[in-house]
């Protein structure tokens, strides 16, 4: 026990003496949260909208006014012809192009039906889908008003039935995307920094030769590993704390659930990350190699974690793979506890799987660490 304390003391001294550490601990979380939660948004807003009005009637203008009034669309330009409109889309100046045909109003009055050309830049398929929904909503809304107008003038027919839908958005009424992203990015923060730092730490001792010096001492494998990893465990929890403070102060993310539960889960989760880091460092000779391998796996884990894209959207086989992804569980738990106030029993399945993962990874790591070659 006393031996472990000496190692922990030494590690902390080295961590805090390293001038590169301060930015990692304090600046990186801030940068990451601010940049990423603003950049990594799938929120579709300020859509660059253009139109070609071939009709120039009060109805066509009324429709365009509807788009203008919507907060989603930035009405950009009135294009004189379709060719000019298409050219603008090619140059990326317009995302959505509305083409109102000639005789729009006349057809509507005579035949009670007319078409409307909508062209959407679909390179970003997901955004295009959302944009399409917005357009359809506005047009339908416009139809509805026409219908009401109609009803008053013309014959009173059989009244149509209406199913009224009331959308309720729980836990995030304003559909604030940052509320969703910030807990996820906190996960990234804790995972990547603890993984990279712990993974490279032991490799670094290998490189500078001090690991050999340690290996000729009578210290036990387990003492050395616990002493080495404990400071990074503390660091991980520290990062969580800083991240949470930033999330609260800058993003005002609601924290509905229990902080104790969050820390409890995180403290187990970090063990998984440290186990992986140690495992990687056992199989690499240089810090660069360790970095590369850690980076390779984190990128895959992150992409498959449901952080940016929903897991339910993945095909069956991919969903099975995500079952082995510790980051997925952490993302789920953070969002559940932070935003929904899920309790201990709710996150129990994730907790147990993470615990199992921690035992396996650390077991493998300790087993593969060799004092003797």
């Amino acid at each position: 026990m006393k031996t472990i304390l000496y190692i922990i003391q030494k590690e902390f001294k080295q961590i805090f003496r390293n001038k590169g550490m301060l930015p990692i601990i304090f600046v990186l979380p801030l940068l990451q949260l601010v940049i990423l939660s603003n950049a990594a948004t799938f929120e579709v807003k300020n859509i660059k909208f253009g139109y070609i009005d071939n009709d120039h009637t009060s109805t066509s203008r009324a429709l365009i006014e509807k788009f203008n009034a919507s907060t989603y669309f930035d009405v950009l330009t009135d294009f004189p012809s379709e060719n000019i409109g298409s050219a603008a889309m090619l140059q990326g100046e317009v995302d959505v192009l509305l083409e109102i045909p000639r005789h729009f109003e006349r057809d509507l009055q005579k035949e009670k039906r007319t078409n409307l050309g909508v062209t959407i830049n679909a390179i970003d398929g997901a955004a295009a889908g959302v944009e399409n929904v917005y357009v359809t909503q506005i047009v339908q809304n416009f139809n509805q008003h026409l219908k009401v107008d109609l009803m008053q003038i013309s014959d009173k027919q059989v009244q149509p039935v209406a199913i009224e839908t009331i959308p309720l958005f729980w836990y995030n009424e304003t559909l604030n995307y940052k509320t969703f992203m910030v807990p996820g990015i906190l996960v990234l923060l804790v995972t990547m920094i603890t993984l990279f730092l712990s993974g490279m730490n032991i490799v670094r001792e290998k490189e500078i030769g001090t690991l050999e010096q340690i290996n000729v001492t009578p210290i036990k494998k387990s003492q050395f590993i616990i002493g080495k990893l404990f400071p990074f465990w503390v660091l991980g929890l520290g990062l969580l704390t800083i991240g949470l403070i930033i999330a609260k102060l800058i993003f005002d993310v609601p924290m509905v659930g229990s902080l104790v539960l969050m820390y409890f889960y995180t403290s187990i989760y970090i063990l998984v990350v440290l186990g992986i880091g140690l495992f990687i460092s056992n199989f690499t000779e240089t810090q660069q190699q360790a970095m590369f391998i850690a980076w390779f796996f984190t990128v895959i884990f992150i992409l498959m974690s449901g952080l940016f894209t929903p897991i339910e959207s993945m095909p069956e086989w991919a969903q099975i793979i995500t079952e082995f992804n510790p980051i997925k569980y952490f993302v789920e738990v953070m969002r559940m506890v932070m935003l929904k106030g899920s309790g201990f029993m709710d996150i129990l399945p994730q907790l147990l799987k993470t615990l199992l993962y921690a035992v396996i990874m650390n077991g493998l790591a300790v087993w593969s660490y060799r004092k003797t070659n």
């Binding site: 304390l5 080295q14 010096q213 290996n215 004092k371």
Partner: protein, 242 residues
């Protein structure tokens, strides 16, 4: 087992794939002796030493160090030896005192003992002014002396030194050897590899390794007689050239 033989090696071999790095070496080292382990670069000195200090498993042969078997009791060996590697292996980003405290701690010394030892050591080496400076900022010669002192911290029975004086000036080398003599006088066995042949003259006995084998083993004086050479340098050249 002979009580006076602290290292006994018999037919010790290490192979890396097809390559035989250490080829069935046999020798003994006596208590309190300064044993020079000589050889050209790549002759297998470091590999042999790593087997003796328990961080490399031999392919075959037997060896006991401080009475413990290298196969089964490597961890017990480690309690009884000190080691200073070729590469400077203290922490550059810790101060002199902190390094001493750390290594004392992992060898299981008590707080009081560590304190006493580190004061003693700092005084002996005249490090009072730099005790709280980072080791990384010190000149190489000082680092080597500190390394050696750290290797002696837990009063080991045997100290293994792997080319301890590589890259330092003659004066510092001289001082370093004075430290080695002092430790040997206090009963510590010294096992030292080097390729400075003048240093070989300071040893009680030397072995010379060529291509993984020990080709000569005796006191410097007898070796010079045997090879009819004026100094150890000539002995070495004669052997190495075959």
């Amino acid at each position: 087992m002979n009580k006076n033989k602290v290292i006994q090696v018999e037919g010790l071999t290490k192979m890396f794939g097809d390559f035989t790095a250490v080829n069935a070496i046999t020798f003994d080292v006596e208590k309190g002796e300064i044993f020079g382990f000589l050889g050209a670069n790549g002759a297998g000195k470091t590999t042999a030493m790593k087997m003796l200090i328990g961080i490399s498993k031999p392919t075959s042969g037997n060896a006991t160090v401080a009475g413990f078997d290298v196969y089964t009791n490597a961890e017990d060996i480690k309690k009884n030896i000190g080691y200073m590697s070729q590469k400077f292996a203290l922490y550059d980003d810790l101060t002199v005192k902190e390094n001493i405290t750390f290594f004392g701690g992992i060898y299981g010394l008590s707080r009081a003992k560590i304190k006493e030892k580190s004061n003693e050591l700092i005084e002996e080496l005249g490090l009072q002014d730099v005790a709280n400076q980072l080791v990384g900022s010190l000149p190489l010669g000082w680092k080597q002396k500190i390394s050696f002192s750290v290797a002696l911290l837990h009063d080991p029975k045997i100290v293994f030194l792997d080319e301890p004086t590589g890259g330092v000036d003659p004066i510092t080398r001289r001082q370093f050897w004075e430290m080695i003599y002092k430790a040997a006088n206090q009963g510590t066995t010294i096992f030292v590899t080097t390729h400075y042949m003048d240093e070989a003259e300071y040893c009680d006995r030397v072995s010379i390794m060529v291509n993984g084998k020990i080709e000569a083993l005796d006191t410097p004086k007898k070796l010079k007689e045997q090879f009819k050479a004026a100094n150890m340098n000539d002995v070495f050249l004669k052997l190495a050239r075959g």
